[in-house]
Amino acid sequence: MITQHLPALIILVPLVSAFIILLLGPNYVRFARHTAMAASVVLTVFALLLLLETTQDGTIRYYFGGWQPPWGIELYIDRMTGFFLAIVSSINLLVLVFAAGVLEQEIRERVVAHYYALFLILTTSLLGIAASNDLFNIFVFLEISSVSAAALVAVNGNRYAMEAGVKYLILSTLGSGSVLLAIANIYMVTGYLNLTYIAEALPAAFAQYPLNIVASLGLIMVGLTVKAALYPLHIWLPDAHGSAPTTSSAVLSGLVVKVYIIVFIKFLFRIFPVDFIEIFPIQPNLLVMSTFGILMGSILAIRQTDIKKMLAYSTVAQVGYIFLGLGVLTPNAVIGSMLHILNHAIMKTILFLSAGCIIKLTGIREVNRLEGVGRVYPLPMAAFSLGALAMIGIPPLNGFVSKWYLGLGALDADQPFFVLIILVSSFLNGLYYLPIVIRSFFGREPRFSEIKVLPIGARFTLTALAVAIVVFGLFSALPVGYLEPAVEQLFAG
């Protein structure tokens, strides 16, 4: 019974545990923590089972209420979606393990239970967005994700977090508003909400109502790039990711931004066939925006003094990489994008978590005051350094692999200019990450009045993520072997 209902259960498990946490109320903090953790373990197991199932059967479909697609809602899990579900659930589990001993020190005691519930709801919405095959259902989950993500930013309680939360909420509502208008347009000219049926009806609709489809494509592009923080529309991101609690920043940067890219991939490949995209200037647009994003994100990150803000600007640059792969649109480049979704999720999570540890242990947020911290607190600083080196793209680590595939894809498309962009940006990454690494390990040893100890959960998470960085760097054939058929599947329609 369970294997048959896996697609629904993967959404229901975190959702129901969030409901139960909210049912008991804010006083049961320990219960909330254990429930969240248990739910995430179950969720991760289910997601990995689904991943296995997609390698065997290809695509899994699930019809809610037994109603066939054009009438009911369908979950559609292909290889790409299964890959993303596995990333979301495992990162979610690791971050929750990290939160166990750290969260209570960062936010007020009486909102911790609510925090766990909101966290699980955010995870649910990410899974739902990725798995759903129905446009309006995707919109509902988009709204859940914007509300819960804004709440996870603002829950930090200080005035900056509140302001960032308001900005984030308003801009992402603008984004979902334009996505909804686009959905209305698409529904109007095709008569369906299910992606598969829209794709079938679209050529006929395009012959009759071309402008409508162009308009909806533009609206989708604006809406999703606002939410995914592609360069000129990234203004909300540094504030939000810089002022949120550590665990929220990790999840927001590592996962939430990427789910909108998954939606974008769905629109690009599942609805609008690839030869259809070439009629519109969407590809050059993406290339220009992502190039600017990569360069400007890195340059702005160099100018930051606050470590979390620096990491947030680095996310802007990395989102540029992922969109670059979609703009180049060759199989290798898309593999590079998908790999970067995985690798950036791991790298940014470890960077934010270790930065949060360092801030908590030393009280230092400024980049240039981190002198010698690595000698006092080797574990978090080593994790940070590993993440930073992977981010720069040092060969045996995982960041290199995705950049390699992006470069290969650009060469396939005869656009060596973008290889240059990737190289320049790696250099810029080195410019702001390496000084921290060098200074913290080779600088003068500072004197702290007391040496604090990290909780065991935090140490476990940092180690696990560090191992993941090395493993996905050395054995890159593992994800690439999974993704190659996935991308073939995408290009086949």
């Binding site: 019974m1 209902h5 629904a8 229901l12 959702l15 129901v16 409901f19 139960i20 909210l22 049912l23 109320g25 804010p26 006083n27 699930y62 019809y63 809610f64 209420g65 037994g66 005691e109 009486r110």
Partner: protein
């Protein structure tokens, strides 16, 4: 706001609003309406009560933990109704296929899960709306760690 006329009229009109809201909820599958609209109408009666008598006396009528329980329990109830169909061998959130009694269309007690779901949604929306309003209008609560 503590006006005698407002209080008298509120006391007189609130039961009617509540009955009307309940009617909209219960007849949601027969006539226009449903859980969301009806729940909001029911909540608006309590909002009127808050405006006339103050949030504190409203808290006595509907304590916070009751409201919170109804909210979450409504959502859990929704999922539970959906899970019934898993054990009946169909997919999540099935109605007829899961063996809910259909009844005669047009009656109040008909349409199986739809009636139950609408009722659950109505209760949930009712308590959510009233909680949203009281939380927004109220000054900082002083309740220790609770």
């Amino acid at each position: 706001m503590r006006d005698l006329i407002v209080r008298v009229i509120a006391r007189f009109i609130i039961p009617f609003i509540q009955v009307y809201g309940l009617y909209i909820v219960l007849y949601g599958h027969v006539s226009p309406g449903g859980g969301f609209a009806g729940g909001t109408v029911m909540a608006s009666s309590l909002i009127l009560y808050v405006m006339a008598f103050g949030a504190r006396s409203e808290k006595r009528r509907l304590p916070e933990w009751v409201a919170r329980s109804i909210e979450s329990a409504g959502a859990v109830f929704f999922v539970a109704i959906g899970l019934v169909s898993l054990f009946q061998g169909t997919t999540f959130l099935a109605n007829q296929a899961a063996g809910f009694p259909m009844g005669i269309p047009g009656r109040v007690f008909s349409a199986g899960a739809i009636f139950l779901l609408t009722f659950g949604i109505g209760m949930k929306v009712f308590s959510t709306m009233i909680t949203l309003f009281t939380h927004l209008i109220e000054e900082e609560e002083k309740e220790g760690t609770g």
